[in-house]
Symmetry: none
Subunit: 216 residues, 4 copies
């Protein structure tokens, strides 16, 4: 059902070939797809970059399309790990929860403008119309869990009496939207990294607005 293959979730059982070749291919694919997009990244170039032959790629992944999906799945998983780490780090019990929320905002912004996230976003947006399941896959693997975790934290903050939130899931989406509100411009649509100061200020401004709306 999920587009992202099981092999990503359980990389121990290798479907095909030596795992190191598989790794090399996926790394090369992530790089090439990230830089050039699905169409412009040629299987030849990926094979060259990975140091394997083209048929090896095909024996492992069957199709350029499937290789692409697996590559995206990996990137999404990696990004998700980073984001979840940032959210898990939010301590809602301390009195300094506001500071912690600001720190979380900065982490979200940092993740958002990471090379991994930017290229992932580019690839998905570019190809999602051709393969709408990508949307589902990514939501299940990255956005969904992220929002859930964040919503849970916000609910806790509400329970603790710090915030006044009725729909935590909605609030989570709004928090993310607010922290990223300035990033489109600062990163020139994902073309370049924003200066560290600018990113921090943008995150702070987003969290501030969020607090203005929801703090008790």
């Amino acid at each position: 059902m999920s587009v992202v293959p099981t092999a990503v979730a359980t990389p121990d059982e290798h479907v095909h070939g030596r795992p190191d070749k598989r790794r090399a291919i996926l790394d090369a694919a992530a790089q090439m797809f990230g830089e050039l997009g699905f169409e412009r990244a040629s299987v030849d170039a990926i094979a060259l970059q990975a140091g394997v032959s083209k048929p090896t790629i095909y024996s492992h992944f069957g199709t350029k399309e499937r290789l692409f999906r697996e590559s995206l799945g990996e990137s999404a998983a990696r990004l998700n790990t980073d984001l979840m780490a940032a959210i898990d780090g939010l301590d809602v019990t301390t009195r300094t929860w506001r500071v912690a929320l600001h720190a979380l905002g900065e982490s979200l912004v940092a993740c958002h403008q990471s090379e991994c996230s930017q290229s992932l976003q580019r690839q998905i947006v570019a190809e999602v119309k051709r393969d709408p399941e990508l949307s589902t896959a990514i939501r299940e693997r990255a956005s969904g869990p992220l929002l859930d975790a964040l919503a849970t934290k916000l609910a806790h903050l509400t329970d603790a009496g710090h915030l006044r939130i009725k729909d935590p899931e909605l609030a989570a989406k709004q928090l993310i939207a607010l922290t990223n509100a300035e990033m489109v411009e600062l990163t020139a649509m994902g073309t370049r990294r924003a200066a560290a100061d600018d990113a921090r200020r943008a995150a702070r401004a987003g969290v501030d607005a969020f607090l203005a709306a929801y703090a008790r």
Copy 2:
């Protein structure tokens, strides 16, 4: 300096060819590029769709790349017109400014999920890395004016004592971010249109959060 050619701004002076063929080509290009993206949309297909021959396209636009840019420029201009109309419609003087702001939010959401906007966004995000000037061009033609106009309106609302906004430009970005916060999920990343009700509710929720943060 601007990537978007002058012909878009002043469509009266036809650069080349009979204007109707040029129109047909641009329409076909907008459709094909919108559906398939730059790479997968072939010039052959565009020519077929436009009912002209391939060389006609090349004699008008010289390059697939240039045709793409002109097509994007047109879409951006069209989208900009719609958005500006929505913003200009916001009456900040009446006592019912809250109602008006909610209506504006709905308009923004409607524009955002219009086919034109969605496909424009797809195309830009997909190709901006290859041609970073696209980012500048679009900001100058669409996002920039839109944000300026919206910021001005918000400043007026602040002047009128309704809102409490220090940085209107930032607030404008946040308002847009908030109204769109749920749209990514509702449109499945721009893959489908949201139900009218859902869109309205999303817009309302965004404006409500905005008001919670900034209403005096």
Copy 3:
């Protein structure tokens, strides 16, 4: 019968259009064909260079092929004029006929490495297989008359008791062959001009060999 059209021989009666346009086209054609050859010289480029529109070219010459032939015809005629002038200048009656013959050799070499001659040769050799009549046309317009005139002069020198030649036509060919013997290398196959000194020395060496063979 002749490939080269009458219009070249009698440029007064213009077949089509104003003669100045015709001139401009032929000049542009000579230049483009000379630089790029028949295939690579596009009619577009010739029209641009001539400052006329493409249909004008077609209304004057009907076909790229015919334009090419007329252009070659003109070049051949021009080259022939130069060569005939050089040969006519040979005074066989004076006692200094050896000096005159050396001067003639130098003239032949000079003509041979003129831009006109080189490009003419390139074009003919390149296209003669596709259109063998070119060979006939050029022989009739340039090589033939040249050889005849030169043979006549050599016959006169024989009559005057200076040379001992049985077959003047053959001797004429040999004289030309000898003066050009070194030119292939000196001009790098017509790619560049030889230094004036080298050209003169080559001509002298050729005439010397000719005299060694045929002087009484």
Copy 4:
């Protein structure tokens, strides 16, 4: 440095692909380029003639241009082999050296009007302006060695007291020029083969003139 690739000099080490396909491609290329020239010979036609697919050609040679160069290199090498064989066959020690020199003249003429030589000449002259290095390459591979070998032979004949030659290199060029003096006309600029008798007579006439100039 040399345009002609090493693969021609050392055809044992195959650069790419199975050697037989490479051979078939080069044979087809030699034929098509020889008949039609660089521009008019399409890669499609060469692939068809060779019985391979177009991408195979590109995987072997990378570019039409490179295929052309390799093809020319082979032709030049083949022609050089023939010419060197003819020259090596000249026995300068016997009393019948005059007969041998006439035989050599006939061989030179025969080589000159061979299909290989004619088409090689056509191709080089046609393309040398676009790629002047062709001139160097051919001189190094064919004309140069030929002239050297011939000059050496002529020097030997001078040493043996048969000829009186100061500059053997120059004399070699002149001998070739003289034997070919009539061939331009006899072959109609390389369009057709001369009758055997005519070719023999032309060779004889050229050698006779040479002897008249240089025999002691």
